[in-house]
């Protein structure tokens, strides 16, 4: 296996970890307005309170890993996504301060303002991540030098990317509700269960819409997928897992349901990145153009360094995360250090 392929898998792992972990935080943010009582909102917020920050680190790691291993792709994609990425950053800051500041004052208007901004920023982040993913799937207008030649944000709001945005938001809401099932009790738990069903239907609808839009507007992607039946396996797997989620919930196996949902996110992301392999960024100007892994990659020496650092660091990271999630396992108990 080539070094750049190995590093591509590392980035794939980081993206997947980000999708699964920040996915449930963002989902909890999307469900936040559906909890009416102050106590319920505090429990929902404190369910993600100790972990959301660590989860967001996976986005930082993903960005750093891309900069490090595929600087050409990092430079091209980030300058192409100029406006959406600044909106994403603004929303990430908005979410951070909403979580951080909400509990700092008791006034009702203060709390409902941060409740609202917590929801809005979670929604904007989910939609923008989906829009960016949708655009990456169909490719960007990049020339043979790997330089972006499009018009920025206005070009990126096609029907397909928008529907992917919707699919990501509804997937996260569903995924977040599964996490909250593990963190809540009694009446709030029942409420979350009801929300889980609604989010699930929403997700099925959005996925069907995204598929439809893909066929309607980007048949070339479908053709690309079809030419590689092995990758279609990921699609079948994701479909099966999406059906397994309500089954597990019905059998009251909530931990397993969360795990299945996590695996579904992993297989959907695998599908996205596998369909364009070995392109890192497909080009819409020239189907044979685009930026391949090899073209975007750093030197072999750097890739070896990166892999060495990752090999040393990953066990440590797994250890910290295991420690934190173990300390905060089980339903939320509010105390005087809670949000």
């Amino acid at each position: 296996m080539s070094l750049e392929l190995l590093w591509f898998l590392v980035i794939g792992f980081a993206v997947t970890a980000y999708g699964i972990l920040d996915g449930f935080d963002l989902g909890a943010g999307l469900l936040h307005p559906f909890f009416r009582k102050e106590q319920s909102r505090r429990i929902a917020l404190n369910a993600v309170g100790p972990v959301w920050d660590g989860n967001e680190v996976w986005l930082v790691i993903t960005g750093g890993a891309l900069f490090a291993g595929f600087p050409e792709a990092y430079a091209t994609a980030f300058s192409a996504f100029y406006v959406p990425f600044f909106l994403l950053l603004a929303a990430l800051i908005g979410r951070a301060i909403s979580i951080e500041f909400r509990s700092k004052e008791p006034m009702a208007w203060w709390r409902s303002f941060w409740d609202w901004s917590y929801f809005a920023s979670s929604l904007v982040i989910s939609l923008l991540l989906g829009v960016a993913l949708g655009n990456l799937m169909v490719g960007l207008p990049i020339d043979s030098q790997g330089i972006y030649r499009g018009n920025g944000m206005v070009d990126m709001l096609g029907w397909f990317p928008l529907s992917v945005g919707l699919a990501v938001a509804s997937l996260y809401a569903m995924h977040g509700s599964l996490y909250l099932l593990l963190k809540t009790e009694d009446k709030l738990f029942e409420r979350v269960r009801a929300l889980n069903w609604r989010a699930l239907y929403f997700f099925y609808g959005a996925m069907a819409l995204a598929t439809l839009m893909l066929f309607a507007h980007h048949v070339e992607v479908v053709v690309r997928l079809w030419s590689r039946p092995a990758f279609l396996g990921f699609a079948v797997l994701a479909f099966g897992l999406s059906l397994a989620v309500p089954w597990m919930v019905g059998r009251r196996r909530y931990g397993l349901a969360f795990l299945v949902s996590a695996l579904m996110i992993a297989s959907l992301l695998a599908l996205v990145f596998a369909q364009q392999f070995p392109m890192l960024i497909p080009s819409t100007l020239d189907p044979d153009g685009g930026m391949t892994l090899a073209e975007a990659a750093s030197s072999d020496r750097t890739l070896k360094l990166l892999l060495t650092i990752t090999a040393i660091g990953t066990p440590l990271v797994v250890l910290y995360f295991a420690f934190v999630y173990r300390v905060f396992r089980g339903p939320v108990k509010l105390d005087d250090s809670s949000y």
């Binding site: 660590g54 790691i61 900069f67 600044f86 603004a90 990430l92 360094l305 650092i309 440590l316 005087d336």
Partner: protein, 455 residues
């Protein structure tokens, strides 16, 4: 305004705003570790209250540091695509190390530090405090290594020509230990300790003046004053060493720091002054031959001046570089004076009653903040016109596809966001400080203690 100037303003603005918070986190992190160690050793309840109080302040600075830090990671790619392509291969490993060794460590343990009081044994809570602090120290390591490589590149070779040119790494350790990274890291760490320690001194002095939370305030003074005293003196030494590195490796920057134009003559050292870039003269109060003495122990020794460089290779804003540098030095001296006076009073036993000193300590929290900012402005503006010294010009490093109106949009957006953020930060800091450390007997605290393994 064009893309270049807008992008430079945006990067300077966002990174300067970010840099309010991480030094406070690093400095407070050290004090938290010290205070919690004292609590574990002595079991004195004031240490426990103090630790919890500082953790609440830390949570706020850390949260804002993370929120504003991701912006820079994105900005390299959004605004400086050519730069990113050029340095990616070299920076890659430093960035990866930062993400995996530093951020994951900090953010992983942060949850336990903030919310784990009732859930883990005291020793594990202490381990988490140490983990978060070490993580924040590590993140400074890698980011300073990357920045120092831009100042004094090493361990690389350039492949390709023109716009296709890229720096590729040939020696990882030579890149990490490039000629300025150790000296600059020490300077950054000490500046961070000062930021945290003077915040603590300011709060302690304020409580003492008002006669509030006195036992805890005295403990806070006790833990912060040694740090402030040692770090301010060490910073003098560290600054001198860092200047010697600049003299050796970035002569144009050194010349700009002192406004020294003469190509090959002895150089003065200004206490204050004003550089006229037109006439290439400095008006001000100088020690004749001071810079020559500092660098070569000889007032007649020649120092390379700005005229030794082609006009397009000199920093564009010599007076600004000069002013920022001298502001930093002056503030550093004030920190030494204040911390030495306070340490002396403490030793003499008059610290708690010296109202004048306490009144001076209250606003002193601003001094290291301003000094840190000024130092970075001098360092970064002094590196111009290069983004990577002598290799890549700032004007060549921009994104090809980004237009001025896009940068204007993001600059306005983030100016608005950061104004709100700063207002909220100051408001909540003030509120937390007004609220003060929980005292035992506080009803809220007792309620939680009943179910807590901690008590």
């Amino acid at each position: 305004m064009d893309v270049e100037i807008l992008s430079r303003i945006q990067f300077a603005f966002t990174v300067a705003f970010h840099y309010i918070y991480p030094p406070l986190s690093i400095g407070l992190g050290l004090l938290i570790v010290l205070a919690e160690a004292a609590w574990l050793r002595t079991k004195a309840v004031e240490w426990r209250n103090l630790t919890r109080f500082m953790i609440r302040l830390f949570a706020l600075t850390f949260g804002l540091g993370v929120a504003t830090g991701i912006v820079m990671e994105f900005e390299f790619g959004t605004n400086w695509a050519v730069y990113s392509r050029y340095v990616g291969d070299v920076f890659g490993s430093a960035l990866a190390a930062e993400g995996i060794f530093a951020f994951a460590l900090e953010s992983g343990f942060l949850g336990v530090l903030l919310f784990g009081w009732g859930r883990v044994k005291p020793q594990w809570h202490f381990v988490s405090a140490v983990g978060v602090w070490i993580g924040s120290m590590f993140s400074a390591v890698w980011i300073v290594v990357a920045n120092s490589w831009q100042q004094t590149p090493a361990g690389y070779h350039v492949v390709g020509e023109g716009m296709q040119a890229r720096a590729e790494i040939v020696d990882f350790w030579a890149m990490v230990f490039n000629p300025s990274s150790v000296e600059r890291l020490m300077h950054v760490w000490l500046g961070s300790f000062l930021a945290g320690a003077f915040l603590a001194l300011s709060i302690a002095a304020w409580y003492l003046l008002r006669g509030q939370h006195v036992p805890v305030a005295k403990k806070l003074m006790k833990v912060a004053l040694p740090v402030a005293f040692l770090a301010s003196w060490a910073q003098l030494f560290s600054g001198h060493v860092a200047a010697e590195v600049v003299a050796e490796h970035q002569p144009a920057k050194l010349a700009a720091l002192e406004g020294h134009y003469e190509a090959d003559g002895p150089a003065d050292m200004y206490l204050m002054g004003w550089v006229d870039q037109e006439s290439e003269e400095v008006q001000g109060l100088a020690i004749p031959g001071g810079l020559s003495i500092l660098l070569h122990q000889d007032p007649e020794a020649p120092v390379t001046g700005l005229n030794a460089f082609k006009p397009e290779d000199r920093p564009g804003q010599v007076n600004a570089v000069f002013q920022f540098y001298h502001l930093m030095v002056a503030l550093g001296m004030m920190l030494i004076a204040l911390s030495t006076w306070a340490a002396w009073s403490w030793w003499r036993g008059s610290l708690w009653d010296s109202r004048l000193l306490l009144k001076l300590l209250v606003p002193s929290v601003l001094l290291p903040q301003i000094a840190n900012q000024a130092g970075w402005f001098a360092a970064e503006m002094g590196r111009q016109p290069w983004v990577v010294y002598n290799l890549l010009r700032t004007s060549d490093a921009l994104s090809e596809s980004v237009r001025a109106e896009q940068v204007l949009f993001s600059l306005v957006l983030f100016t608005l966001i950061y104004v709100v953020l700063l207002a909220l930060f100051l408001y909540l800091m003030r509120k937390k400080i007004l609220h003060g450390p929980h005292e035992l007997g506080h009803p809220e605290l007792n309620a939680s203690n009943r179910q807590s393994a901690w008590s």
